[in-house]
Symmetry: C2
Subunit: 452 residues, 2 copies
């Protein structure tokens, strides 16, 4: 028969078993962290009617979307988790309790140009809290706590949650009489880290026709730096000139005030006026999260406050605040940076039983006992030479191998080999189980990410 060459599509991540285990551990930590804050997990279809997903329309989305017909239906694959959430909340409005807190970890699709580290199928891990008509600002203060919990549990210390408020920016530009250009200006200021102060000034003056004085005032404003207290104090100096500005500053102050109570250390948090998020979507608080030793990675968790989640589907005002982790890209970059903790167990089993007898009855009973104690157990029953069996154990990376031959069976023991130390001892089945369980327990606390 002629064979078809097996391949996986470019831009689609497909992991080998050990890497998949690492990915699963990271995903599990994100999920349980989100749930700790009372967010309910959702799982919505990958496919939606195109008119639903493209309700907003335009821009990159329309170009990148996977859209196709099946029968009479015009279908698309979701390109984020926010539009499906908007649909979900407007569709099931009557059955939900508000504020509606949901988390979702799921694959999304964007037909981007294929290049290294860019994915067309990738996981997003989102939390959003949606209010009905209004949503208290304290929700915005809780979001950094979720980010902090996620990244701390993943094993990171040197990360910073950077926060700003679009109202402060909008208000500031209104003071300068630049409201109409504020979107363009913010998108420009957003490039500060990439193209530097001079690059930004050039765009502001040359492309956006600002006066040199206006450009300088903007650069001066975004250069306000220092401790959160210092930045907030500097912002107080602008008070009373614009209502939106004052409101944004009040919000930012509230967020900063509750942070300590929410358990976020000052070192992991910074008010940063350069953060704007290049999306018109956000209307209040905005978040970015950077790894201090890896600024080149960019933001690993971003989001913000929006006024109106589902305006394309309902007249109801549904404000919300949320964040998203681009999980697939994050995992890829962590791997590239050598930041995945190699000590985290990635074997499919805690223990491998190698029977040395023809009849497997005792080995089967041993496997059943170990599984009954919650140990992930593989039983190897292929007719192979000893060397091949040990090479299988090595390749799997199991921490323990139990040998069971006539001798062991006669003496009611197993020979337990610690594959890392090479140490080998005869133990009762129960003692072996206890030893393995203790090791497994000790590995559970290992964080999947290492700072290097």
């Amino acid at each position: 028969m002629e064979k078809i060459k097996p391949r996986t599509l470019s831009g689609f991540m497909e992991l080998l078993p050990p890497a998949q285990m690492q990915m699963d551990r990271i995903m599990d930590i994100i999920r349980t962290s989100y749930e700790l804050y009372g967010y309910t997990p959702l799982d919505t279809p990958l496919i939606e009617a195109s008119e639903i997903l493209l309700a907003k329309g335009g821009g990159e989305t329309e170009k990148q979307i996977y859209r196709f017909t099946k029968g009479d239906s015009d279908l698309s694959l979701r390109f984020d988790l926010t539009v499906p959430l908007a649909k979900y909340v407007s569709l099931h409005y009557a059955e939900l309790a508000f504020p509606f807190k949901r988390c979702q970890i799921g694959k999304v699709y964007r037909g981007e140009r294929a290049q290294r580290g860019r994915f067309r199928e990738f996981y997003q891990a989102d939390v959003d809290v949606i209010g009905d008509g209004a949503l208290d600002i304290t929700n915005d203060a809780e979001i950094p706590a979720i980010i902090y919990t996620v990244f701390s549990r993943l094993g990171l210390k040197r990360f910073q949650i950077r926060i700003n408020n679009r109202k402060i920016l909008n208000g500031f530009y209104a003071m300068l009489g630049l409201s109409e250009k504020s979107g363009d200006i913010m998108r420009t200021v957003d490039k500060l880290e990439k193209i530097g102060k001079d690059g930004v000034r050039a765009i502001l003056v040359d492309d956006l026709s600002l006066s040199a004085a206006q450009a300088d005032e903007i650069l001066g404003f975004t250069a306000i730096r220092g401790t959160n207290g210092k930045v907030l104090a500097a912002l107080d100096g602008y008070r009373g000139r614009n209502e939106t500005f004052d409101q944004g500053l009040d919000e930012l102050r509230t967020v900063a005030r509750y942070l300590d109570g929410f358990g976020v250390p000052e070192t992991n948090f910074a008010v940063d006026l350069t953060i704007a998020r290049g999306l018109d979507y956000y209307t209040g608080t905005v978040y970015e999260t950077t790894l201090l030793d890896h600024p080149e990675i960019g933001s690993v968790c971003s989001g913000g406050r929006y006024d109106n989640l589902a305006e394309y589907y309902t007249d109801r005002q549904l404000p919300g605040v949320g964040i998203s982790i681009g999980l697939t890209r994050l995992f890829y970059v962590l791997g590239e940076q050598g930041m995945l903790n190699g000590d985290v167990p990635t074997a499919p089993a805690d223990v491998l039983i190698l029977p040395m007898t023809e009849d497997f009855s005792d080995a089967v009973a041993l496997a059943t006992m170990l599984r009954g104690r919650g140990l992930r157990t593989q039983l190897y029953t292929e007719a192979k030479k000893f060397k091949a069996k040990m090479s299988y154990a090595d390749k799997l990376g199991v921490p323990f191998v139990l040998f069971l031959g006539e001798d062991e069976i006669a003496n009611g023991v197993v020979t337990c080999k610690n594959m890392k130390t090479g140490e080998q001892e005869k133990l009762s089945g129960a003692d072996a189980a206890e030893k393995i369980a203790a090791f497994v327990e000790s590995q559970k606390q290992l964080a999947p990410i290492l700072e290097v």
Copy 2:
């Protein structure tokens, strides 16, 4: 703005939060059960090149597949997890250890005619073990143990794993000189439960042109019933007439012999000669699993042994054995039958804090403390009347509400309300945490499925 009516596509399951929690619990039990047997979890792309998925081609698959182009690429959504596994194993062959044991729970797509209880997007939950060249029969004996573990943990007792061996059937038909018609015959016999003995005989004689004697011998053979020992003894009567038959009987005997060791009670297992699985794909052991009180549901977990997983992609002989649970349909049917355990907690949080003060500092600190102890905690900060707050708590279904007003803060206590009993008491934060944690722990053992 004109609104687009929010909707979810027909044939796509989208659950409300409580149902999603039940589904997640079931999925979690399946996943951890699979992993207990040393199967490594995989996650492969939803989209593959069409030539990969359609390598086998023909039949329903080609009609039902979601196929589309993006740029120059001819793409399809996977319609099962087996074909992607075949691709994975042949593509990554050099990097895998064999026998390769993998589990996968993932969505698959089939454009079936939409009707109640039929899904176009649905979860399959698969385990497969793949040998390199050969695969010991003991693996076939372990599979019923996995099925038993899954369904027991889900809360079921009255289910039966029915097993047969295609070699016994093929050998038997060879004895009758009916080898060439054996596929058609088996597909007919497979309908025994649906259309009855007379219906099957009619097809055999009228459509497949068997003699009445042949048809009777076939019906007599498939009518062999009784305890496993009795059935196996009856089969021994056919020994020595066909090599394939004898081999199949040896395999079946081995599988039956190890069952007890693998912890599968005889009551949950039956050798059943009517099981053939209507797929040419299987070549040895075949499995079906039925709920004894709900035969109308059909098999909830099926699978079997195949000789050659990846023949379309590689010359290597890769035999395997595996099973699949059609999870979405199972969940739907369980719901319809009223078999989902309503006592299983489905609230997004273990506890809801209702602050009764303007400043939330104490409530925030309380939330942080509870989360630090692993309790899923929601903090309600909306400016609503007390009644609206309580109605929110009711709607969420949280088991505990903690009130925190000036009085409580002054006395260093919280008012803890058990939402089920209505009982209300003043406790220290730590005592409240302990009480809630004990309740959460007690709920963990609740099985998600009830036999009714």
